[in-house]
Structures are given as structure tokens and as C-alpha cells.
């Protein structure tokens, strides 16, 4: 999947646009549960009163892996590091770039950004060390 002619995933692509502009956000319900768009209900409690809240500037790597066997869309990217990063009320999953795969540690502080894959040029959520 690549190329500008493709249909946008409304909501999620808005989120990526915002992260790229340094204005990342997530969706929060009245009970303080965080999630990523698109949402019409909070996935944690089912409430429908959701608002966009600025994403913190940094999060902590909660878990990570270096992927050596990829699907065809990421064939030229291997090895690459993916991580689940804790931003407090919300977690994000993306590629950890600008790091030595052997030196990645849980608990490391990283910032969200938008990058692209080497294989297709498709833009993806990435994290960079802070």
C-alpha cells in the first residue's frame, strides 16, 4: 500500500498529520481513558463523550522487539525495532528509529514523529530518542 492516490483512513491519517506537525493528540473520555482515533466510543468504558487531548511530548518504551522476518511491505526495512510506548493515558505502537537495535531499553524516553518505511515509502508512526 503506497502512493498519494490511495484513500485516506480518515481519523487515523488526521492523527498522523497532527503528529507530523508536532501537534499530536489522542482521544480521551470523561473517565480519563485514552485511545487513538478514529473512535465513536471509548473502547474501555463505552462512553460516547470523547475529546481530543494533546499527546505528551515524550513517552516511555514499555516493550520492544527487533523484527528480522517481515511481511513484503517491510522487506527492505529489516531489521527494525518496533515498540509499544506508554504516554500515560494512552499507548502507541510504532517503529523506533535512530537507535542501535542492540541498545534499546525498556523505560527509555522517546518522542513521537512520523517517518516512512524504506520498502514502500509509506508513512508510519515512529519514535525517536529524546
Amino acid at each position: 500500500m503506497s502512493g498519494d492516490e490511495l484513500v485516506r483512513d480518515d481519523g487515523f491519517d488526521d492523527f498522523l498529520d497532527a503528529v507530523a506537525d508536532g501537534e499530536g493528540f489522542y482521544v480521551e473520555c470523561e473517565n480519563g481513558h485514552g485511545s487513538l482515533p478514529p473512535r465513536r466510543v471509548c473502547p474501555h468504558c463505552g462512553t460516547t463523550d470523547l475529546k481530543e487531548v494533546p499527546l505528551p511530548e515524550s513517552g516511555e518504551v514499555e516493550t520492544h522487539t527487533t523484527i528480522h522476518v517481515a511481511s513484503p511491505e517491510f522487506a527492505d526495512d529489516v531489521p527494525y525495532v518496533t515498540a509499544v510506548v506508554d504516554f500515560g493515558p494512552v499507548r502507541l505502537t510504532g517503529q523506533l528509529q535512530d537507535v542501535d537495535p542492540d541498545a534499546v531499553e525498556t523505560g527509555a524516553s522517546v518522542a513521537p514523529d512520523v517517518g516512512s518505511t524504506e520498502t514502500t515509502g509509506e508513512r508510519i508512526l515512529v519514535f525517536r530518542p529524546r
Binding site: T65, H68, T82, V84, T93
Partner: protein
């Protein structure tokens, strides 16, 4: 509410059969199940069929009626898709139908054709069991997702790659006498540790293989078994199902699987048994860490305690609670849609006494744990010898 008997089971060889179609595989497995059951095809009132990646692997949707044809069954047929738990869900629906009096005879099964896609194609196809927007677009693979869970487990509770390797060694050892298994060969801990990394900390030997195969079971009501004088000593006495958020990032736990905990709790209560009653379990070890999470979800171990079970010899063939005596997904193979029913088939053989590893079973209660994706869906079934 009637009881549900396993009248017969059938399996193809699990392995590389890239030239064989799904319908051919299922025709073989279902024929074996009918022969084992001593039930005629014409008695079947519905087919519940599990399959995950048929559109990608065979350009074939709408597989329910197709597989009814392949099995020679003239009955309504429905495909169930719940990733790797597809046929586990089919079993659960069949059990409900028999209990409710909707049907006396149900054919349940599943099949998957995978090897014709190659490794990259299969990796791509399996990845669609993850969340496309939040995970697949970021490059998450199926092994990658389990690697994230494995590292989270190590960080939270401890554990080593050696502990995981002991699980792989155990399951290969169990597969040795199983004629249906993909890998009938021993491996060592050192071989497992030295194998190439797929997604660290998971190496090649922490992962199940890419497998083609099919499985089928004939489920009947107590009344039908009695009226037709069937030799069907094993019953499905408990069923449970649980769910969780699709993406790991939205889960409460990264090192526990609440969907399986809920399914197990429900299935145990349904059967009126406890974890301590269980003599053997077939659990969803698509990756070695998955077996650990399964053991803890099934309440055999507290969270954080299951990691060393194989290394300590507790879940090996001569241990107190032998797990995956079939070889598990790891060594027997994991044709995704066929896995749930194959666990029921293997447990039935183990409890009936006609499995090559039956001697290792000391008791009359078995449990099957079938997990979909990164355990966003799970079924658990309790099987018991009742006659």
C-alpha cells in the same frame, strides 16, 4: 439440556502440502472423523467450519458450503473466522447447538492452506489478525506481537530464553510418536538458542511452523449416542470464550491474557471442574511464550510462575501435568483454521487411550485452549471421560 459426546475425530497429516487444496484436506479429515464415529454423513444436521486466510491463500471465500460438499454433507454450513481460534469458536457453537436441542449430530472442523504463500506471504497474511491501523501499518508481524508480549513478561516477572527453549524441546519430544505431526524430530535447548532470530527474544525455534492441514470432529447428543449404540466415551462438558482489545496498546495487560482467563473460568464453571482436576491440556503454543501465558490463564500457575514449568519438568510427558502431548502448535503444526478442532481431536484420543502418548495421561479431564491473534479472542473447552 443434553450432554455432548465426541463421537469421532479425524486429522490429516499436519505439514507441508502446498499442492493440496483446502477442500481436499478437509475431505480427508472429515472422512476420517465419520469412519471413527461410525456415524453416516447423512445424519449431519449442520457443519461448523473454521478457516482464517482462505481469501488470501486460495482466493476462496464462502467456504461453508464448499466444505460441506467436500465432506459429502447435505446440511447448512457456516464458516467461522476468529483468527487462530476459528475452529475453537466453531466447536463452541456446535456444542451450544447440540445442548439446545437444535441438532443431534454436528460436524465441526477446520482447514488451512498456508505453504503455497511462502514465508513472506504467510507473514503478511497472519499479520491481518492484528489491528491494521495501529499495528500492521507500523510493521508489526504476528511473531513481532508475541515478541512484544514476551519481553513485557520477562520485564514484569523474569524468565529467560532458556526457559522458552525448554518448552520447544518438550513439545518436539511429545510430537515424536504422533503420526500427524509436522516435526517428528528431537531438538535440543542449544539448537533452539542458536537458531536465527525472528523477532527478539523469539527465535525460529520459538515459533510454530507454517502448516497445511485439516481436522474434523463429529459431535452428537447423549441421546443420539445411546440410540445408535455409539462408542463415544468422551464428552465436551465445558465451554467458554473470552475477548480482549484487538491492539496490544489498548490492553490492560501485556504479559497476561485476560481473554483466556475469562474463557477458562467460564469453561471450568460450566463443567463443574477446577484446574486441579485437569490431567492434561492442549494449549495454543503458536510461540513458546504463548504456552506460558496459557498455563497461567488456565489457572495451572499464578501469573509469573508458569515460565519455568517445562524446564522444571512439570509439564513434560512424565510430569504432573503434561501439556501439549500432541506436540502442540510448535511441533505438531499450526494450520490456523484447523487448530481448534485438532486440539479437541488430540485430547479425545488422549483421553480415550488410543493416542501414542495416552500413557502419560493420569486422569479423566482434559482442557483445550485455542487463542486468536495475540489472544484478543480465546475459547476453552473441557473434555471428560464419562463412560
Amino acid at each position: 439440556m443434553t450432554g455432548v459426546r465426541v463421537a469421532g475425530v479425524g486429522l490429516t497429516h499436519f505439514g507441508k502440502h502446498p499442492e493440496r487444496t483446502g477442500r481436499d484436506l478437509f475431505a480427508e479429515a472429515s472422512a476420517a472423523a465419520f469412519a471413527d464415529a461410525g456415524v453416516d454423513r447423512s445424519a449431519v444436521e449442520s457443519l461448523k467450519y473454521g478457516n482464517f486466510m482462505g481469501e488470501l491463500a486460495e482466493h476462496q471465500g464462502h467456504q461453508g458450503p464448499l466444505m460441506a460438499e467436500a465432506a459429502g454433507v447435505d446440511a447448512p454450513a457456516t464458516r467461522y473466522e476468529s483468527a487462530c481460534a476459528s475452529s475453537g469458536v466453531a466447536v463452541r457453537e456446535a456444542v451450544k447447538d447440540v445442548r439446545n436441542g437444535e441438532a443431534d449430530v454436528v460436524l465441526v472442523g477446520g482447514a488451512e492452506r498456508m505453504n503455497n504463500l511462502g514465508t513472506a506471504g504467510t507473514t503478511e497474511a497472519l499479520a491481518i489478525a492484528a489491528d491494521d491501523l495501529y499495528e500492521v501499518r507500523a510493521g508489526i508481524t504476528f511473531p513481532g506481537a508475541y515478541a512484544l508480549m514476551a519481553r513485557a513478561y520477562f520485564e514484569r516477572y523474569g524468565g529467560t530464553r532458556e526457559d522458552l527453549a525448554a518448552i520447544a524441546v518438550k513439545n518436539h519430544d511429545n510430537a515424536l510418536p504422533n503420526e500427524h505431526a509436522q516435526f517428528q524430530r528431537e531438538i535440543t535447548v542449544d539448537e533452539a538458542l542458536d537458531a536465527p532470530m525472528i523477532a527478539d527474544p523469539l527465535g525460529l525455534y520459538d515459533a510454530c511452523p507454517i502448516t497445511d492441514g485439516a481436522s474434523a470432529v463429529v459431535l452428537v447428543s447423549d441421546e443420539y449416542a445411546e440410540a445408535h449404540d455409539l462408542d463415544a466415551p468422551v464428552a465436551v462438558t465445558g465451554t467458554g470464550q473470552g475477548g480482549d482489545k484487538m491492539a496490544l496498546q489498548d490492553r490492560e495487560y501485556l504479559a497476561r491474557t485476560p481473554a483466556a482467563e475469562k474463557a477458562a473460568e467460564e469453561a471450568y464453571a460450566d463443567a463443574g471442574v477446577e484446574a486441579t482436576d485437569v490431567a492434561t491440556a492442549e494449549v495454543h503454543d503458536c510461540f513458546t511464550i504463548a504456552e506460558v501465558l496459557a498455563l497461567e490463564s488456565l489457572d495451572f500457575y499464578a501469573p509469573g510462575e508458569g515460565i519455568g514449568a517445562a524446564a522444571r519438568g512439570e509439564t513434560t510427558r512424565d510430569g504432573d501435568l503434561p501439556v501439549n502431548l500432541s506436540g502442540g502448535l510448535k511441533a505438531k503444526g499450526h494450520p490456523v483454521g484447523a487448530t481448534g478442532t485438532s486440539q479437541i481431536a488430540e485430547l479425545t484420543r488422549l483421553l480415550r487411550g488410543d493416542h501414542p502418548n495416552s500413557d502419560a495421561v493420569d486422569g479423566e479431564v482434559g482442557v483445550a485452549h485455542n487463542a486468536g491473534g495475540t489472544v484478543a479472542s480465546t475459547t476453552v473447552h473441557v473434555l471428560e471421560v464419562v463412560a
